[in-house]
């Protein structure tokens, strides 16, 4: 039955993993930008500015939490909570090592997809309740984008599920260990690409940041938010990036294991391996962010509906045929 202390330990691990992940990815993003664009970036807090996220958090706590007069107060105040809950929920099933996992559900993949769809709700209500044209436009764009890219995300994962014959994330990693190669090299390369593109769109990062679009929509659904509530959206964005990279590592790159390392030591090197893979994927996202211009709204929708969804259906077809043949 439910053991109280176990629940607390799990919650603690998830919290530590999620918050540290967000901090690591914030540093990665900002320092990556400064390296790529030859600008100083954060330099003063800590060694070469590497603990600036702490200063940033303290700054946001000091700021006034403004609720404009005409907004729908209750909806406005609770909107960040949906996004945060959705992101925390995602961390529950990601296996950091075979034993260090919040809960290894049989339906792990299905759970991930169900929970990740909740953040749309937060973004939409945030946009609407701000009582602001720019916010509403941002919220609607965000919802349209999240709905469109959720489909290729789900369909790309279906290929992995067919190949692994299980929906448990630990099970999927075990299958990859058994096979000797991560799925990205053994048939799911296309699915990996689709997953990463769709995940970037789900994170609403450049080149998919149409909903924020600071040069035309002020800052989209975030326009009216300040102080702690803005901080929650901000942290949730980086946590989302971290957890989606961790999920991609688990599903496609072999998770907490790399070939040739002895499996009996996996509990020791597992967390390090998973973190390394996650940070490498995050680094690719940073490179993409600072290299590409933003998509136009119609290009963005076309990419999802006309390119990614047919490709992911093709991937499912090929995977199923291969599964029957071999």
């Amino acid at each position: 039955m439910i053991d109280g202390s176990q629940v607390l330990v799990t919650a603690g691990i998830i919290l530590a993993f999620a918050l540290n992940g967000a901090v690591i990815f914030t540093i990665l993003d900002v320092k990556g930008a400064s390296w790529m664009q030859r600008r100083p970036g954060p330099l003063h807090v800590g060694l070469r500015g590497f603990i600036f996220p702490l200063a940033e958090i303290i700054k946001f706590f000091q700021k006034e939490d403004i609720t404009p007069t005409n907004v729908d107060s209750a909806v406005f105040k609770w909107a960040p909570a949906y996004v945060l809950a959705s992101v925390f929920g995602l961390f529950v099933v990601v296996p950091i090592s075979p034993t260090l996992v919040g809960s290894d559900l049989d339906l792990g993949v299905f759970y991930l997809l169900a929970i990740s769809s909740l953040s749309t709700l937060g973004v939409l209500t945030a946009g609407w309740s701000s009582a602001n044209k720019y916010s509403l436009m941002g919220g609607i764009r965000a919802a349209g984008q999240l709905i469109a890219y959720e489909l290729p995300l789900i369909l790309a994962v279906v290929g992995v599920v067919i190949q692994a014959e299980t929906m448990s994330l630990v099970g999927i990693v075990e299958k990859q260990i058994e096979f000797g190669l991560p799925f990205v090299l053994s048939g799911q390369g296309l699915a990996f690409l689709i997953f990463m593109v769709a995940a970037t769109a789900e994170m609403m990062r450049v080149p998919f940041d149409m909903p924020i679009g600071e040069s035309e929509l002020v800052s989209g659904f975030l326009t009216e938010y300040s102080g702690v509530r803005f901080l929650i959206f901000y942290i949730a964005e980086y946590m989302n990036m971290f957890v989606l990279c961790a999920v991609a590592s688990t599903l496609f790159l072999g998770g907490y294991h790399v070939p040739l390392l002895p499996t009996e030591w996996v509990n020791f090197y597992g967390p390090v391996v998973l973190l390394t893979k996650t940070v490498l994927l995050g680094f690719i996202l940073v490179l993409v962010r600072w290299s590409f211009p933003r998509f136009r709204e119609d290009q963005l929708q076309n990419l999802a509906w006309k390119v990614l969804i047919p490709l992911s259906l093709l991937n499912i077809l090929i995977t199923s045929i291969m599964k029957v043949v071999f």
């Binding site: 909806v75 049989d106 339906l107 169900a114 769809s117 749309t120 709700l121 209500t125 349209g144």
Partner: protein, 172 residues
């Protein structure tokens, strides 16, 4: 009484309150958000009954897709902030009460009549088993449902694209 019983009573109480809020509030977005809570608590109840597949389907399909489409549709048409008196329809209140009470009565009667004698506790439904049954014993209904969904999809697209001939293809 076990701890789980107490939790489930609280869940059901919350469910009732959220459901009442859906129909009594006079702001359409508030109604949609209350519906989210209603569905989330329904999913929670299913989780307590160890039917995790059903719970997740509710979260994925209803909260993640249906409600988001509701909100999306409301927001791109009209969604005034604050109270909206038009939402209440005084004339039909009695009718609505009658319909909902009769649905409640029929469902309760059918449920109690069918399952009362054979309530048995299980350790939960295995999703693997569910999948196997769905694709072996119930494969025909399953295919029929997917056919109906496909027909609905094509019908929706046809309706939405009716005026397409009038539009210049390059403008889209």
């Amino acid at each position: 009484m076990e701890a789980l019983d107490i939790i489930s009573y609280f869940l059901l109480l919350g469910l009732l309150l959220a459901a009442v809020k859906v129909v009594t509030t006079s702001n359409v977005i508030h109604a949609a958000i209350s519906l989210v809570f209603t569905l989330a608590l329904t999913a929670g109840t299913f989780l307590l009954l160890s039917a995790e597949f059903v719970a997740l389907v509710i979260v994925l399909v209803y909260i993640g897709a249906v409600i988001v489409l509701f909100l999306f549709g409301i927001m791109i048409t009209r969604a005034p902030l604050g109270q909206n008196a038009e939402l209440d329809n005084e004339k039909n209140k009695g009718l609505a009460l009658g319909v909902s009470l009769s649905i409640f009565g029929i469902f309760s009667y059918v449920m109690l009549n069918t399952f009362d004698s054979q309530i048995n506790t299980t350790s939960g439904t295995s999703t693997e088993l569910l999948g196997e049954i769905l694709l072996s014993r119930f494969v025909f209904p399953f295919e029929v449902v997917s056919f109906v969904l496909l027909a609905a999809l094509i019908g929706g697209i046809t309706l939405a694209r009716q005026d397409n001939a009038l539009m210049d293809e390059n403008q889209i």
